[in-house]
């Protein structure tokens, strides 16, 4: 993953402009779908910092199971194999596959591989209407089914973020869908709590007084 830094405007605004600037943020988190993946734009760039969304690097690479002379895993692009294989729209689970991907867990509704993967170019994805979408723009693909989540995301109520709440003072960086959700099994994983404050009120009551 990389963070696609969208050009920030360094002119930190004086405090008096904070309110106006906050109002201008409507453009970035508002209803229009356009700013979804290009949120660096705003109506009043002179007083605004950007909200940037982390993006996947690009098409994933698949391990071939081989090692090169240095002991590194040999990775192959999807298109390396798939350009010569006929697409099978029935494949949904790992057991449907003859080679590769057999270790993967699939738990994403009843969709098939080619619901999202692009059979015309396996180094890209496709939307429900068949149009091509790059791996880096995967959020467009997710959003076509997960509308309420995307709406909440655009308003900062879904998905993690770091940086500034006040865009007049600094930029904000937001996770994209697949930072937190495995696209093949999107349920958020279980976790093990590692930090526990010791609350003295939870100690067993003392009996020695």
């Amino acid at each position: 993953m990389i963070c696609l830094a969208i050009a920030c405007d360094d002119s930190a605004s004086p405090e008096t402009e904070t309110k106006n600037a906050s109002k201008a943020s409507a453009n970035e988190t508002g209803e229009q779908p356009a700013p979804l993946l290009a949120t660096g734009e705003s109506q009043n760039p002179a007083t605004r910092f950007a909200v940037s969304i982390r993006k996947p690097l690009g098409p994933p690479k698949v391990s071939t199971g081989l090692q090169d002379m240095h002991g590194n895993l040999v990775l192959a692009a999807c298109s390396t194999c798939h350009t010569t294989r006929p697409p099978n729209h029935q494949n949904k689970l790992a057991k449907d596959l003859d080679e590769f991907h057999s270790e993967m867990q699939f738990s994403h509704g009843t969709i098939s591989c080619l619901s999202c993967h692009n059979e015309r170019d396996y180094d890209a994805l496709k939307l429900a209407d068949g149009s091509r979408v790059e791996y880096a723009d995967v959020m467009l693909l997710c959003a076509q089914c997960h509308g309420p989540q995307m709406t909440a995301y655009q308003h900062g109520a879904h998905g993690g973020m770091t940086g500034y709440w006040d865009l007049a003072r600094g930029p904000q960086i937001k996770n994209n869908c697949i930072d937190c959700h495995d696209p093949h099994a999107p349920k958020f994983p279980s976790m093990q709590p590692t930090f526990k404050p010791q609350d003295r009120f939870l100690d067993p009551p003392r009996t020695d007084h």
């Binding site: 008096t16 409507a26 973020m161 709440w165 003072r169 937190c180 279980s190 709590p193 590692t194 526990k196």
Partner: protein
């Protein structure tokens, strides 16, 4: 002077009228006892107040004489900050900077937690512990995550000591921290005005003015205040040097503390540490006065509730579920 001296003086004097009035009285058993009693009382009183004549070793003269924070001028504050910085340098060997960012004019903070998202992993508590220079020994934090059975809002049915994988299917998780009430009972009960509500809605504590009576801890219906039973112990390399006077500076022993929405961060426009740390994205923070803010979108579009609404505390902290 003893009672005997008094009696001798009185008897040998030819002109009693020239003596001091107290001596010009017949020496009786009663006056003698009175004098002895008064002397004893004075001695006892002196003994009782003697600690007041000397300043304890761990309090500097400047600190002892410091005025209430709201009465300090800007130059006074700079002196206080410089003193605290050098004291920390001496005591812990760490260079820190203490600031006091004022409320941003026109901003009023609100915080909301999505209980459909929170899975009780506790990353927020850990982030709070590190950001706010909490005592490491007891893993102090301003946040407490309750594990509650689904189907109840009874906080007493919750527990905070779960240590299994989360989330459990029959449970939900509710982080509780200071609700920054608009009608804060903790502020009302403070006998010395060491805690107050600022313009941006944050209830703050002046650790130097607090006398540690813990009335506020008892008054808070959310159990959100913490008492420093011990001098906080933090390894020098883990101290967060970006400190605020009213927020995350290392607290003295015997003072109350509480969540301050990371005011040393949020008043500079940054997000609170617990929000940045949340791996589930369950936390929403922003300006309630800005109609386009994230927090206002939540308030307008989600079914939002506050904890213990019936108490009339009017929290600035909200909870909601998806759909």
């Amino acid at each position: 002077m003893t009672a005997d001296d008094n009696a001798d003086l009185h008897q040998s004097s030819p002109e009693p009228s020239r003596l001091l009035p107290i001596l010009n009285q017949p020496a009786t058993r009663r006056t003698a006892l009175k004098a002895a009693g008064a002397a004893l009382g004075l001695a006892a009183f002196g003994k009782a107040v003697s600690p007041l004549w000397s300043i304890p070793e761990n309090v500097s003269v400047d600190e002892f004489l410091q005025q209430h924070y709201k009465e300090l001028s800007d130059t006074d504050k700079q002196k206080v900050f410089a003193r605290l910085e050098s004291e920390t340098q001496q005591k812990l060997g760490v260079e820190i900077t203490i600031s006091d960012p004022p409320p941003i004019p026109g901003v009023r903070y609100g915080y909301a937690i999505n209980l459909s998202k929170c899975n009780g992993n506790g990353a927020c508590m850990e982030a709070c512990n590190k950001e706010n220079n909490h005592h490491r020994g007891v893993q102090q934090s301003y946040i407490r995550v309750l594990e509650l059975p689904k189907g109840t809002m009874d906080m007493e049915a919750g527990n905070t000591t779960y240590d299994h994988t989360v989330p459990q299917d029959d449970k939900y998780y509710m982080p509780v921290q200071c609700q920054q009430c608009d009608n804060p009972p903790c502020v009302t009960v403070c006998p010395v005005e060491a805690t107050w509500k600022e313009e941006d809605g944050i209830v703050v504590v002046d650790y130097n003015w607090c006398i540690g009576c813990r009335y506020c801890e008892a008054a808070c219906p959310y159990h959100a205040r913490r008492f420093n039973w011990e001098e906080p112990e933090i390894p020098s390399d883990e101290i967060n040097p970006d400190q605020g006077y009213l927020s995350n500076r290392v607290r003295p022993q015997g003072t109350m503390e509480k969540c301050h929405f990371c005011l040393h961060r949020t008043r500079e426009g940054r997000l609170p540490a617990c929000l940045e740390a949340c791996p589930t994205g369950a936390r929403v923070f922003g300006d309630l006065n800005d109609p386009e803010s994230n927090i206002n979108w939540v308030l307008q579009n989600k079914r939002v509730f506050v904890l213990k609404e019936e108490l009339g505390t009017q929290p600035s902290f909200f909870y909601f579920f998806d759909s």
